[in-house]
């Protein structure tokens, strides 16, 4: 005790000791991701300290703001497409239970058509068919490419959401409707209080899967001139024009999408397992 107080000026040594204890507590076998992160940080620190950072990595560091900005566009496109697609899809899914046969037929055609069309072709469709600016009365509003991609992705999203919704409603046993009717619930009440809460739980995993798949489809937006992360990587690769940088930037692109989509996939699987147990 006394020696510790005497060694007060050597506080940093104490700190490292505590740090060592903390690191020993983190068994690398139990936390492989943390261990990998620590290894990467150490490597970067060593490179910066000795000034021997590989040239390709230095370029990647320089280009990382551009790439991140591009990724932001991808996220923006995917979130908006998902929001619009879900709203339209729920409407179409609800209409597919309509008592009118023509409405049911129309929704079936809608779903079939947009599920069977290649996403890339739909993106070309919305990009080239819509004008580049909209004239609303006196104002001209620009209609940027990324917004057209949002619409192009929202179309197949809405078709899939409609299918998910229909499947979820149909998966509720009809006996529940009858039981609720015998308890004097009205049709709207049965739907709102009994069927819908169960549907939402069943719809969540496929909906999350759909979000991951739409996020991956946003990579296609680079083909129609939106400045997304793939476009940024291409520009970077062409500007730097080094073999090692090209290899690095494209595999970074792969890693970025993986880092975004894999956690969603893991969460979806965990949810599915939890629901399967109930």
């Amino acid at each position: 005790m006394a020696s510790e107080i005497a060694a007060a000026p050597a506080a940093p040594a104490l700190g490292t000791e505590a740090g060592a204890g903390f690191i020993a507590h983190l068994d690398p076998r139990r936390h492989p991701w943390l261990a990998a992160l620590a290894a990467v940080l150490l490597l970067v620190a060593a490179w910066t300290a000795t000034g021997t950072t590989p040239v390709a990595l230095r370029h990647l560091w320089q280009w990382s703001p551009t790439l991140l900005l591009g990724l932001l566009t991808n996220v923006q496109i995917s979130v908006l497409a998902m929001a619009i697609g879900t709203a339209v899809g729920l409407l179409v899914g609800a209409l597919s239970f309509s008592p009118f046969a023509p409405v049911r037929g129309a929704t079936r055609w809608y779903v079939q058509f947009f599920r069977n069309a290649p996403v890339l072709v739909l993106i070309y469709f919305t990009t080239y068919v819509f004008p580049f600016e909209l004239r609303l009365a006196a104002w001209t509003v620009p209609f940027p490419d990324w917004l057209k991609v949002v619409l192009g992705l929202a179309l197949p999203t809405s078709a899939v959401v409609a299918e998910i919704f229909r499947g979820a409603i149909q998966s509720i046993p009809s006996a529940q409707w009858e039981a609720a009717q015998s308890l004097a619930f009205r049709r709207g009440e049965i739907f709102r209080l009994i069927v819908l809460p169960q549907c939402l739980r069943r719809m969540l995993p496929p909906w999350m899967n759909l979000y991951a798949s739409i996020t991956m489809s946003t990579a296609l937006s680079s083909l129609v001139g939106a400045h997304d992360v793939v476009d940024a990587a291409q520009v970077a690769s062409n500007t730097v024009a080094r073999t090692d940088f090209t290899v690095l930037v494209y595999f970074t692109l792969l890693a970025v999408f993986f880092a975004y989509c894999y956690p969603i996939a893991r969460a979806t699987r965990a949810l599915e397992r939890r629901h399967a147990r109930h």
Binding site: P118, L120, V230, F257
Partner: protein
């Protein structure tokens, strides 16, 4: 001559509907479009068997008892499922292909064309999904059936080939057909690396003529036809392989 007259009449009739299909009257553009249709068809016909073979191989690797086979296969599956096909295609064509070209510079050039890369990437991508479907199919084979077969004196090999795989294939068939429909749609990504498929040739035509809507309708019809053929073949196989008591 008569054909040309008929074609011109059809174009004129569509023109009254506001659709400009004048490009079919130009021999060069018509040929380019037909070539595009053919290339897309070839892509599908080549990729479907390749993807099925890849699926079987990946499923075998996934279920392997050896960890050094199963773990890399699992990693490959996760990376493939959770990254965009376009980025995979770029990694293969713009990176691997570039490296191969650099290595083979002295040896008479790179034999791999963009077409081949699309086949490889799409086949591996869909192979991963096939593998998952096959694995689920194998898991769906009832234990009791296997035990019954074993008690009848089937050897391990016979058990696999005569009982387990035929049943697993039947259980997996609906998902496999679904994956193949996706595969047909996915071949449109070939246009990104200038393979002359129907999408690419159409882009070439519509940048000249500004008839995007007309060409897109044709492309969608064509993909609709191809996916319909695939699902038709799937339904035919399901009916042909139907076993009373197993599957739907």
């Amino acid at each position: 001559m008569n054909d040309a007259g008929l074609l011109a009449q059809a174009v004129a009739a569509l023109k009254t509907l506001g659709l400009n299909y004048a490009f079919v009257l130009d021999a060069g553009e018509r040929q380019a479009f037909l070539r595009g249709l053919l290339v897309t068809f070839e892509l599908c016909v080549l990729t479907v068997p390749c993807s099925l073979a890849a699926g079987v191989a990946i499923a075998a690797a996934l279920t392997s008892p050896r960890r050094w086979v199963a773990l890399p296969a699992r990693a490959f599956v996760e990376v493939t499922r959770n990254t965009p096909t376009l980025v995979q295609l770029y990694c293969a064509f713009l990176v691997l292909n570039m490296l191969i070209t650099q290595q083979l510079q002295g040896l008479g050039g790179n034999p791999l064309t963009p077409f081949v890369w699309v086949v490889i990437v799409v086949a591996l991508h869909k192979g991963v999904f096939h593998a998952e479907a096959l694995r689920a199919g194998i898991e769906a084979v009832p234990r009791v059936t296997l035990e019954a077969a074993r008690s009848l004196g089937f050897s391990q090999r016979q058990l696999l080939w005569r009982v387990e795989l035929p049943l697993a294939l039947r259980f997996a068939l609906p998902s496999l057909v679904n994956n193949l429909v996706d595969l047909v749609k996915m071949t449109a990504v070939a246009s990104a690396i200038a393979v002359g498929d129907v999408t690419y040739e159409s882009i070439m035509i519509w940048t000249q003529r500004d008839n995007v809507l007309e060409l897109l309708l044709l492309i969608l019809l064509y993909f609709g036809l191809l996916t319909w053929l695939v699902s038709l073949a799937g339904r035919w196989l399901e009916a042909r392989w139907r076993m009373p008591g197993y599957g739907q």
